[in-house]
């Protein structure tokens, strides 16, 4: 299978002389096309740091990151921004929709910035709004939407550039359980129908159970990996078991 994202010996340190805190260390991972990878771990394990580095928002202290074989750490800030815009999609916990724009304009934003043809943008909006069930909301503004709808708009925005990878940072964190489920189903379908590569960072074992494989982080290091090989329900139980074995107690994750 084709490798989309690969890292070698990623390390991130914070602080200066004498007082160095290592957030992540020795992270080697491969993400394949069509992967749906979950990243779990207790607070302070380095999940967000890892996500920021993988998504090119932050730079590692050492190590290498390759996107489709290309080393992105050699890029300048400006090129990195453009790379991010064209190749990476984001879904955030707090939606991060722009409240000054309507739903359709929010979705159009990344493509418009890449100076795509307006007609093409419109077609894509049409297609994605159908997929996410947002057809009737296109003219609305974010304050008129429910949390679940907002997150679906964010997902549609993340997908509009047909990115090689989508990062979802606790996307269900601010949603009720029904909306969470809907969103996770959407992500799952995205993964299957469009063969979109997704990296999902979450606390929540239920959300993680939608992934195909899971990476556990603890104290900045990879603590273990499990792959889904059976039903979602069973996968969920295995996740819980693994978390239990990691120490720190199951409760922490609920």
């Amino acid at each position: 299978m084709e490798i989309v994202l690969e890292t070698q010996k990623l390390k991130k340190e914070y602080g200066g002389k004498g007082l160095i805190f290592t957030a992540i260390e020795d992270i080697d991972l491969q993400v394949y096309k069509g992967d749906f990878l979950g990243v779990m771990g207790p607070s302070g394990a380095g999940k967000t740091t890892l996500l920021n580095i993988l998504s090119t928002i932050d730079r590692p202290s050492s190590g290498e990151i390759y996107y489709e074989g290309k080393n992105i750490l050699n890029m300048k800030n400006r090129d990195l921004s453009i790379f991010r815009r064209d190749n990476i999609g984001f879904i955030f916990q707090d939606f991060n929709l722009l409240d000054s724009m309507s739903v359709e304009d929010n979705m159009a934003l990344p493509l418009a910035l890449s100076k795509a043809n307006p007609k093409e943008i419109k077609e894509k909006i049409e297609k994605l709004s159908k997929f996410f069930g947002l057809k009737d909301q296109l003219k609305k503004y974010s304050y008129q939407l429910s949390g679940g709808q907002k997150q679906r708009v964010a997902a549609a925005r993340a997908l509009i550039t047909s990115p090689s990878i989508v990062f979802a940072d606790e996307p269900t964190g601010a949603l009720d359980s029904k909306s969470s489920q809907e969103l996770l189903q959407c992500l799952s379908q995205m993964n299957e129908q469009f063969n979109t590569t997704i990296i999902l960072v979450t606390h929540d074992a239920f959300a993680a159970s939608y992934c195909k494989r899971i990476l556990f982080l603890k104290d900045g290091k990879i603590h273990g990996r499990i792959d889904k090989d059976s039903s979602r329900k069973e996968f969920f139980n295995r996740i819980i078991d693994f978390l239990g074995s990691m120490g720190g107690g199951v409760d922490e994750f609920f």
Binding site: I82, R84, S100, P118, Y143
Partner: protein, 626 residues
């Protein structure tokens, strides 16, 4: 820690945010002090000729400043309060009661006010000598005050007056703030920043009507004669304010909405960010924008008015006083006496001229021949004399008509004129300097041979004009000349002309220019504060955009565009309003005011542009773009 200490700590922490406000306040206090102190300046009081003018213009200028200050201080006080709502909420959350919080925040404002009064008075006193010297120089007080060395002078009365005025204003704002905070609810405070901003609805009716209202206002202003000046003025001002509010409230939102719906345009690079944000901002800040537009109108119009006045008076002065000394005499002895007096004085002669003319008592005009007329224009070095002379292609029965000096504009165009029993068609009608006010009659120019014919019917007189190198200092000379010349010689000097109207317009111009500066500064600050308050709200927005892969350059460009439009819309509206106002003014004054208008708009745009650059820099700093 007591509440006053908290206030002081807050004050220190926020001093950077307050920087511009402080500067504007210090400038206003310093200016106010100088406005007041000039009416107590003993040197000015001694100069009897001008002290009355100084007193009344000082009063008027300080009154205007007070009105403006109240508006400015109340406005910025509200701005700072909105800025800090969340902080107030946090205090309230920690269990500090509203009275104490109100005290903390109100005293912070008071501290700021006290500081600006202290520094402002310091600056005012420090620069008072400069101010008075400028007043004496710029304001054409030359006649009365030329030889006076302006002394450094501290006016206790002015200091006290300034302190009293600012104490009242600061006291009232302290109270208002205090009461405002006491009234607020905790929940509103906590939610005030978290609240998602709604995109307001657009009222198409108001949008269209706003244009109609402004159109009607312009129509009434231009046709002021039909409605009566007072009514027209009142109605126009009210309609303009009303129309401008709706214009910003609805019309511009309509325009922006049009562009938002034009996806082909919107989905082109950063347009999508800029246009959406502008639409959002205009609608939510239309009151400020409209107020700024009205302020700009006031600024430009009033400065345009005072500079027009000065421009007009200067123009007229050249026509009324082309020479330093003029008299009418052909008596050799008298002429010699005059020359002797001038020789004995400290003056040097730059030009000595004489010319013959005829006086026609029936028609109350004087007549000169064409060659004399040409010579005078040449000697006086009139700038566009070639053009003027080229119009004087007179034939036998034709004449040129030159307005009496001091006339603003002739109401009736004359077609012909009778001199004795001769009738002449008037070929040209113009206003140029020839004899000045020493010969207070219209002047008729005829062909040289015609003049010879007329000469036999009327008495010929000799006009003598002298230009000296120090025209301002002719007070003593005038009295000496008056002794050697008989009354009928019509002695006229720069001193006689100058001691009247010119001083007054000079003072008005100077104070007007100063007020203009204060107003521009304050207008700039208001829009600066308003834009910056958005920068705090927008911080998150630009964080998102950066995460989504918007480059710093794109954000920079989009921000420049957004802030630019935010600045330029009220500017354009203000300029158009004031141009109509000045157009009406020039109609009333019967002279073209293009030059002063361009100067006042240019000055305003320049200072306003500097504010734009500063605001943009600060905004970009706040949202954190490299």
């Amino acid at each position: 820690m007591n509440s006053f200490k908290i206030a002081i700590i807050n004050f220190k922490r926020n001093i950077r945010t307050y920087g511009l406000y402080l500067a504007a306040m210090i400038f206003s206090v310093a200016t106010y002090y100088n406005f007041v102190s000039m009416r107590y300046n003993p040197q000015f009081l001694e100069a009897k000729e001008v002290s009355a003018y100084i007193e009344s213009s000082s009063m008027a200028a300080s009154m205007l400043m007070i009105i403006f200050l109240i508006f400015f201080i109340v406005y910025s006080s509200n701005f700072f309060l909105n800025q800090r709502k969340r902080e107030i909420g946090v205090y309230a959350f920690m269990g500090i009661d509203n009275y104490k919080i109100a005290f903390i925040f109100a005293s912070e404002g008071l501290l700021l006010g006290i500081m600006s009064v202290i520094f402002g008075l310091g600056a005012g006193i420090l620069f008072s000598k400069l101010f008075m010297m400028m007043l004496a120089k710029v304001a054409l007080l030359k006649v009365a005050l030329l030889n006076i060395r302006i002394n450094f002078f501290i006016s206790k009365k002015a200091i006290i007056e300034t302190i009293i005025l600012y104490s009242i204003i600061l006291g009232v704002t302290f109270l208002k703030r205090y009461l405002d905070i006491i009234k607020t609810n905790l929940i509103d405070l906590m939610n005030s920043l978290k609240k998602e901003e709604e995109c307001p609805k657009i009222n198409y009716f108001k949008g269209i009507v706003s244009i109609v209202i402004i159109g009607v206002a312009y129509y009434i202003a231009i046709n002021y004669e039909k409605f009566g000046f007072g009514t027209a003025l009142m109605v126009t001002v009210l309609l303009i304010i009303w129309g401008t509010y709706w214009l910003f409230g609805s019309f511009f939102s309509m325009v922006i909405r049009y562009y938002i719906n034009k996806k082909g345009f919107l989905y082109k690079g950063t347009n999508i960010i800029s246009i959406s944000n502008i639409g959002f901002r205009i609608k939510n800040n239309y009151r400020t924008l409209a107020a700024v537009a009205v302020l700009i109108t006031t600024c430009i119009t009033s400065f345009g008015t005072v500079s027009s006045l000065k421009y007009y008076v200067d123009e007229n002065h050249r026509i009324e006083v082309p020479y330093t000394v003029t008299y009418i005499s052909s008596n050799e002895e008298e002429i010699k006496k005059v020359d002797k007096v001038i020789e004995n004085s400290s003056h040097n002669v730059e030009l000595k001229n004489n010319a013959n003319f005829l006086y026609v008592p029936d028609s109350e005009v004087v007549v000169v021949n064409l060659s004399t007329f040409k010579d005078i224009l040449k000697d006086l070095k009139i700038e566009n004399r070639e053009k003027v002379i080229s119009k004087f292609k007179l034939s036998k029965n034709e004449a040129g008509y030159i307005e009496r000096p001091g006339v603003m504009m002739s109401i009736l165009e004359k077609n012909d004129i009778h001199i004795g029993n001769q009738k002449y068609n008037i070929r040209v009608n113009t206003k140029v300097p020839i004899f000045g006010k020493g010969v207070p009659f219209p002047c008729i120019v005829v062909k040289d041979d015609e003049y010879e014919v007329l000469k036999s019917h009327f008495s010929e007189k000799q006009f003598n004009g002298i230009i000296l190198d120090k025209p301002e200092d002719t007070k003593d000379l005038t009295f000496e000349l008056a002794e050697v010349l008989p009354a009928e010689s019509g002695l006229y000097t720069y001193f006689i002309a100058g001691a009247r109207f010119y001083d007054f317009t000079g003072i008005v111009y100077f104070l007007g220019a100063f007020l203009f500066l204060v107003f521009v500064f304050a207008t700039g600050s208001i829009i600066y504060f308003k834009t910056l308050s958005q920068s705090f709200e927008d911080k998150g927005k630009y964080g998102i955009l950066k995460k989504l892969g918007t480059t710093d350059l794109e954000i920079y460009q989009s921000l420049s565009k957004q802030i630019g439009i935010f600045f330029i819309l009220p500017l354009i509206v203000g300029i158009i309003h004031s141009m109509v106002a000045i157009l009406v003014l020039s109609d009333i004054m019967k002279c073209s005011l293009n030059k002063p208008t361009i100067i006042s708009i240019g000055t305003f745009v320049l200072i306003y542009g500097i504010f734009y650059v500063f605001t943009r820099r600060k905004f970009i700093d706040t949202v954190g773009v490299a």
